[in-house]
Each structure stands twice: as C-alpha cells, then as structure tokens.
Point group: C2
Amino acid sequence: MSAKGRLYGVGVGPGDPELLTIKALRLIQSVPVIAYQSATDKESIARAIASCYFTGTQIEVPFHLPRALEPEKAKEIYDKEVEPIAQHLAAGRDVVVLCEGDPFFYGSFMYVFTRLSEQYQTEVVPGVSSLMACPVSLGVPFTYYNDILTVLPAPLPAEELTTQLLTTDAAAIMKLGRHFTKVRDILHQLGLASRALYIERATMAQQRIVPLDEVNPAEVPYFAMIVIPSKNRL
Amino acid sequence: MSAKGRLYGVGVGPGDPELLTIKALRLIQSVPVIAYQSATDKESIARAIASCYFTGTQIEVPFHLPRALEPEKAKEIYDKEVEPIAQHLAAGRDVVVLCEGDPFFYGSFMYVFTRLSEQYQTEVVPGVSSLMACPVSLGVPFTYYNDILTVLPAPLPAEELTTQLLTTDAAAIMKLGRHFTKVRDILHQLGLASRALYIERATMAQQRIVPLDEVNPAEVPYFAMIVIPSKNRL
C-alpha cells in the first residue's frame, strides 16, 4: 500500500511569471501532477502564468468550477470536478493546484481545499495578490498608517457599494466586468471619481491602465480593478 | 557625468525567505546598494528576511522612519533619513529598498517613494502581504465570491472598529500590539470572538497561533493579526 500524495495549493501571483515566489517555483518543479482551473473554452490563466516553469514530464489536470450557480448545483459539480485530483492523491502522487493570485483570497482553490484537506496532507503557499499588484502597477501608494481599507466585489448592490465607500479611507473594487458602469456612476456621485484609478490585467503582458471616464464599459474584463488610494500623505 | 541610479522598492514578503518573489531575488542580487528600515536598537525585519540572498559585497544603508510623530516633525526626520539613499542614486548606484510584505500596503517605503520617485527612475515590486500569509498560516480560507473584506488597524477608536466589523463579511485587524485587549473585548461584544483567529509573526520561525482568549495582552507584538474569515462555504 503506497502512502497518499500531498496536496499543495500554490499562489502564482497576478500575472508576471517573475512574481511567483521561490517556494511556488520549487513546488511546481517537484511534483508529478499539476492541476488548474480552466473554463472549457478558455486557456487557463493560472497555467499561462506558471507553465514556463513546468518540467515537461508532468501530468496536467484541468478542472472547472463555474461561478454563479445555485449552491446545490455548484456543490454537485465541484464534488465531481475535484475527483481527478483526489485520485492522483490516493494513488500517492503529489499534486500542485495552481491558483491565480493568492489561494485563500477570493480564489477557487478554496473549493478544492474544503473538499480534500481533511483526507490528504495539504500545504498552502500564499501568493502576490492583485490587491497588491494593482496599486504597484498604477504607481500609487495604497494605504498608510491607520487607514481603513475595504475590498469590494463589483457585483454587490449599488446601495451596499455606496455605504462602504462612504466609510473607508481606501478601497479596491474587484471583478468589474459588466458591473463597470454601475461602479463608475457611484464614484462620480460620491466625488471619488477623480481619485479612482482603473487597471486591467495588472503585471500581465496585456496590462492596460485607462482613465476612468475613457473606459469602454462593453470591454471591461473580469480581471479589472478600480483602486481608490488613501488620501493621507507625509 | 554618470547616469543616475535606479530605485527599486522590493516587497520581501511576510517572513519566510522562500516567500520572496523570483523578481525580488533577481533585483536583490543585481544591485550594489541595499537599504532597509531599521530602528536604532533593533535588527531590521526586512533585512532578516532577505539577507540570506545578499551577495556579500553590497553596501548596506539602514534608515529609520519612526512612527506616531507629529506630521511636521516626521517630515523633517523622513527627509533626512532618505538622504543617504538619494546620494547613492545621484552617484549612479542602483538601490534596492527592502520592504516587509508589500511596498505600497501599509509600508514605510511609501515615504521613500514620495520623496525620491520624481527625481530617480523607480520600480516597485509587489510582495506577499501578511494579509494573505496570515489566513494561509491559520489554514482558513479567508474570502469567497462576493464577500466584503475590511482591513482595520487596531489603533482605531473602538466605535470605528465596531461599526466596521458590523458591516463586513471578513476582516483582518492589524498592528495589534497594546491595542489587543480593546479589540478582543469588541469581538466578544459583537459575537465574533468564536470566529476570530489570532496569529503572531506569520511564516517566520517564531510564528505563534494562540486561541483568542489565551493570548497574554502584555506580550502581543506589533506584527500580530486577528483574522475573521468569511462564513460563506460551498
């Protein structure tokens, strides 16, 4: 009977392959199996970031955990999608699951973790999040000293976004996509538009920084962020 | 006349030297001058994290930007403390400034950046923040899907902390130190104590995880965090 394999949830950072950690690189190059989220019709972003480090002899396991499903439906699909990973672990093979950004920060790895970490020895490796990469790419210090920072997913209702933005020092609004116009209008209403900075695909080759009012709402990707840096300076 | 040097603000991550990025490692090993924050009587944390990668022939430039000063006094001191870095840059030497965690996320590098980035070519490299490292070290998925996340410095007034904690899904309370008791009491009042997780010096050799009610308030370091993960699961 062979020992079970180990599960590694590895943050691969925001996009630039040089923003992987030394630990992520070591683990990616040491395992026989690499898994990653991949929508059926799209290239996996996590794979695109890290594949330059693959050894060339590794087994690849794509999985797909679609969002915005009914909870019951999602559970059923997620259970099924993680099954191939579990089979490699049960057969004694170590598996790295690549995670865009950081594994526990709005990442789909959490659905793998909650299903497998009790049965299999699991280690998670934090990564550089887009929350840090976007302000850096924009060239703007984000939070100082005793600032309050609020991270807001754009799909939230307008009232909730407004309330939160009125009571914080700095904010990041994530997952913009088709919610861009709603967010832009709120920022204008609150007098925050002049401080708000828009960025797409930070640190990737396709990175774009666009003035807020020049963004085409029809072309805003999911991986776009609006950063409202703190006003405090010294 | 020689060209001016380049300034690099480099995040070195939360503590484990393996959590530096590949880019941070490359830059640290390529420059003649390395600067870091260092209180007069203490070892520099940023230096302790990254010094295993120094080449052995580099010039080291400690500086000290003390906190909690009157703004006017701070400006005067900060201007003076960054002067040695400026002199190396003016003389054509590239300088890496090591930054704990991420440079633009509650970091003292921002005071260097605001003083030197207009005069000298500057590049900032994001790093793994304690905001990501603490939940990972605690083994707890932090934020899901459309969660609101609020980052709260513990020195804030109790009323402000209470209001913010009542209106968020997940929270991180940083810079605990002597503010621990105030924060713990608020968490009990709000019924959040059972969800709150305490960690000191995440990913460092001295990392400690302690149940909230067993923490000795007299011994809480500045680099301690309370993480309140989201309740959402799937």
